[in-house]
Point group: C4
Chain length 376, copies 4
């Protein structure tokens, strides 16, 4: 690990570097959480409740960050969460994200709200591990059409986000009257002609209102586990459920034959006041008990955070805002650097903790630290 | 829920918007708590100790906020707590409150310290759910006269406030020498001629002293459960006890045949250093065990807070300061907007938590989160 | 309780009001604690961990603050802790303290470090309850002489302070090179001629060094429980031990026949990093189990704090800094006002908690509130 | 203890006094921790979780700070941790450290990264207790040569640091492009000719990169317990393991015949997110159960902290940053003063806690204080 002599050197710096590149409304859109942003902050600070218990004098000269997810090999357990509106922060949009992930040998999850088509991204990073994150369209045919595109162009898993029955109450966006610039086109949504026309009309009229309203029109907010089953039956790809926070729901996911779970509270953007993502992870891992792979996202900002999440049972983790910040800051190479920092920090953390592979973590590597005073 | 494009968008904003409309003394009077204001702050922050455990993929296309309280239907479980001196913050005074409640299909509790008569308010909102909050007069005949008025003009329950044996030690009011402007008349108190004269005399002389002193003269500070029983025996309306914080008192309330309990610490204005209202709720709910309806007020500022209170067993909740702020900010339409935000936020929170009715909340919807570090 | 219309209205205000009357060094001397001042702050904030559980609708029209301590009646359970150097903050010195206590019907504890003689104070407040706080002189005859004076002039108990084997490490005083002005004479210490001469010599030379050094010379830092026994055997007055923090020591105090215990950490001025006084109280109360009276001091700033201390088993409480601040602010009448505020606030707190006598407090009036988040 | 009348009077002051003497990069290098510096802060604040339970009226006229470590007598249980690059902060470098330790009768641990040779330091403080802290060189002969020098010149123990398989991720150093000035020579590393040449070359080229890179080249990052055993077999000195945080590793250390353990997280500079050093101590002490001596370092800033560490089972403690600060501030006499303050504060704390010897501490002298609220 010959350290680069040029910054940034930590994930937090990307936030700072992104700020001058973005309008206030866009910056806030990325940053904010729902309501009082309690969960947003919790996602980050909850990691401090878990103390690593490092072991010494185990040989760590050969540390291995390679693992498999859904049977595919990745060189790092830190991938990119689905994030919307890539072009909003950088002209390359999702192209930069998918390419940086391919270069870094890690997984990219493309959002239904992407601004570059499934196909275009697949061509840009043909050998990268790519998953497709879905919201179900009311018109199931649109969904099926997109699923087929994903299958055909080399996406290797579907990620069904289930925590968005309605858009979270994000006060900053409302105050900013956040709306997309006209050139930001949501290619999946607009792949349906009728939808495209309705969307353009409303957008012109009401801005953010249109967006939320249309979301409510286009996507199915009344989906149930039967719909997850339907999706599973209608694709040859593994289906992963994103947005689970309870053991109860994890158990149901297993019953319905799901192939993976992303423990997530959507980065604190949906329901405020829920458990921090890292706090929700152990229960899910326990009930799943190896029957499918469990991932998590939310609040990861250092390699130390990543190691804690892995130690608590996540097979891999994903990051949302760091992707947006690094994209805004410097496109593909910014994103690559961000992923590199996570790798480097994770590797250092593993060496110092006496861990030589992300696949085999010792028991008791973390302990819940209730000594809250020590944080003050 | 087509989101309005005009603010305010959250309850906290009303506080900011009210400030320039009020004198410092009046603003402080609303804001303050007793002594060190520890309970005042606790009421709000204690909600963060409870984490919601949202369930996914239950159909939430049809979310129902309707419930009944004391047998009457309301369209929202968020009503308005009894607050004094309506005209002090807006010329319409309580008229704006009761009308906004009627429009919003929710419950209005009129204070004994109101500045508009029982009758006037009843006429202004004939179909709204209205309750009458009582302090017992030393002269029980005055009380009976007012109870009769309430019964006759359509109030549907009596709320006996029991946490005011003496006014709390509110330092800000003492420093501000808070007193009412001459045109603010406490119509219930002054409905008795002798009292009216004495009150006017003292008020002219000593300001706030007069108010407290007269309160001590006019109201009965030595009431006991026998008086609650007397009230119950002397009205055909249900009697609700407001200001209970312990399981012991809740048990007694049941024994005395009370019809409802408002778990409340008077918004931290009476005895400082008591449990936060939300922390007191579960014990009361448990001991009551369905034998009467349990409500709560204190510190609710988002729909997420409301959902937590309902999940912990409150049948409905009430808000005090938000009513005063929204009234000060923009009269009836301000209050309506405030109630609307609570509705909207609650609905979003329910959808995201997988809850479709305020009447049937799943077990384990909240968990006490002792992970205090995560808040820092 | 006809509220006064003139301030101050809370104890914290005396701190502010005292500041402009004092030099920085003197102000700091009063304010500071040892080392990092952790215990100093804890003494105050620890009260927040205990939540009052108020009971409603018990008749509180007749609230009684009268109690007895060591068999003598006091009108308020809030007395004044021994504090040194009265004349340093006000020309009247301890005269103002003892007179205000007599007027308020509460107990005054005179320090060995007082600047007015036992006799002078006794004559100034002949009917007040007065105790004499002792440090043991190396020369036990000096001690015996002072004890006789105390007995003869009407002091009714001896308070042996046991937490001062050495002066605490108070960084502020060291930085300020704190020393007494020449006119401040420590009358007890100087009652011995040899000591007086040595003290004057050293004082002139080295300031604070002299004070600490002389303390080490004059007082016996090697005392043990046998010395407490000796004191008890050599006086007809009850002997109270001040500065106990553990159940173990309380048990020994009982064995040695002590008549009372003041749970105290010397206001955080001696050993930093110990339990807050209020946190130490319950263990002592439990082990003592009524075999002697238990008092406490440290961090009491409101009537609510007082009620919590009484609920946790203190028979009476004492205040140190509030005495110094109010003395500095306005002499005797300042001190009287300070004691009055404690009385008023305590009375209000009792009424609101449903408590009618400081002598009979209900079980479960306080609960330890581990919900730390709610304070943030 | 005739208090000095000249400051500084507490350890924290040395930090302030050192700042103007150092470049930002050097100041930061000393100050910083890894990643988010969570453990750095925890090391200090965690002491607040432990409350001392002082005992009164035990005779403390004769307090003894003398103890033995590895069979040698020291006059104070507070020694100096191994710290690198002494000349970077003061021209005397480690000479000042070792001399001040000898004067103070306490233990000095010389780092492999020292800027003065083993020999030079030994000559400067021939009678002082000196230990030699080792990183193992890839070329074991270099290590053996240095061990022989240490043995021959009077070092009495070897301290094998085991928490540095790689340098921690210290963001401040990366941002500052921290590098050593040319005149700072790492005498142990450069004692090997080949290494010296390679080091000089790289240093000229890449600054900090070189340092880390070379560290990786020169030192063995793949060492295991077998290497600790090898060291033990190749020296007549006791071998102490520095950097243990878990009971598991402590148990192994015992199995491998180690003579002592320093519970340490390297002052929060290596793996962030681990337990505070003081929090890790009790488990290690328990499992070791007297089979070797246990020491600790990390976050000690007052005599109160020292007493807590001793009470939790440390035989002696060490301080790192205070050594660097006091050295920067005023060379040998600064360091002597720093050690003196620790002694004085510890002595005062012991007297006030009723403890008369650092060798015999009563049971229950500290209690874990979970009352976190009291710190706010
Ligand atoms: C700007 C932004 C847009 C997002 N868009 C989506 C999305 O389209 N689909 C989705 O499932 N999650 C979306 N998320 C949530 C992320 O996938 C992820 O759960 C979250 O960002 C993780 O938290 P972190 O930002 O703290 O890493 C979005 C998050 C952000 C910040
Ligand atoms: C300005 C003000 C006046 C109040 N007046 C009354 C009253 O007359 N009667 C009563 O029972 N409670 C009164 N309360 C208490 C409220 O009914 C309610 O318990 C409290 O405000 C709830 O807390 P919240 O303000 O945090 O919502 C008053 C509260 C405020 C803020
Ligand atoms: C300025 C000052 C002087 C004190 N002098 C004495 C003293 O002479 N003897 C004694 O036993 N305690 C002395 N104390 C301690 C007090 O008796 C008492 O324990 C402490 O002040 C209580 O804490 P509080 O200041 O928070 O009320 C002194 C305290 C202060 C603040
Ligand atoms: C500037 C600096 C240099 C250090 N160099 C070394 C070293 O060379 N070898 C070592 O074992 N520890 C080293 N440490 C760690 C210390 O030995 C010690 O574990 C740590 O400083 C204790 O924490 P404290 O600084 O809070 O007292 C260093 C620490 C600092 C601050």
């Amino acid at each position: 690990m010959a350290a680069s002599t040029e910054g940034p050197f930590c994930i937090a710096d990307f936030e700072t570097l992104a700020k001058p590149k973005l309008s206030k409304a866009v910056y806030d859109f990325i940053q904010t959480g729902a309501n009082d942003c309690v969960t947003l902050r919790d996602n980050i600070t909850a990691f401090r409740k878990y103390a690593l218990r490092p072991r010494m004098l185990s040989n760590v000269s050969d540390v291995n960050l390679t693992t498999t997810i859904q049977g595919q090999q990745v060189d790092s357990p830190v991938g990119i969460s689905p994030v919307s509106y890539g072009k909003m922060v950088h002209p390359d949009g999702e192209l930069a994200l998918v390419r940086a992930c391919q270069e870094s040998g890690t997984c990219y999850i493309r959002s239904t709200h992407a601004t570059r088509s499934l196909d275009e991204l697949a061509r840009a990073a043909p050998t990268g591990v790519k998953w497709y994150q879905l919201f179900l369209f009311k018109d199931r045919n649109t969904t099926l059409r997109l699923v087929r595109q994903a299958e055909d162009s080399g996406y290797s898993a579907l990620v069904l986000t289930v925590d968005t029955a309605v858009t979270g109450h994000r006060v900053a966006d409302l105050n900013n009257q956040f709306k997309l610039a006209p050139h930001i086109r949501l290619v999946d949504i607009e792949s349906d002609k009728a939808v495209r026309e309705e969307y353009s009309r409303l957008e012109a009229e009401t801005g953010i209102g249109a967006m939320h309203y249309l979301n409510a029109q286009v996507f199915d907010t009344s989906i149930t586990w039967e719909d997850a089953k339907w999706l599973k039956q209608n694709t040859r790809l593994p289906v992963i459920i994103k947005g689970i926070l309870t053991a109860e729901d994890a158990r149901i996911a297993i019953t319905y034959g799901m192939d993976g779970i992303v423990v997530s509270n959507h980065g604190g953007r949906q329901l405020d006041g829920v458990m921090a993502a890292i706090d929700a992870l152990p229960d899910v891992v326990k009930v799943v008990n190896g029957r499918c792979e469990v991932y998590m996202d939310g609040g990861l900002r250092t390699g130390v955070d990543v190691l804690k999440a892995l130690a608590l049972g996540a097979r891999a983790v994903f990051v949302g805002r760091p992707a947006m910040w690094s994209l805004a800051y410097n496109g593909q190479s910014g994103v690559r650097r961000m992923l590199q920092i996570f790798r480097d920090e994770l590797k250092i953390a593993m060496m110092l903790a006496g861990v030589d592979s992300v696949k085999h973590l010792p028991e008791n590597l973390v302990v819940k630290n209730c000594g809250c005073c020590s944080r003050l």
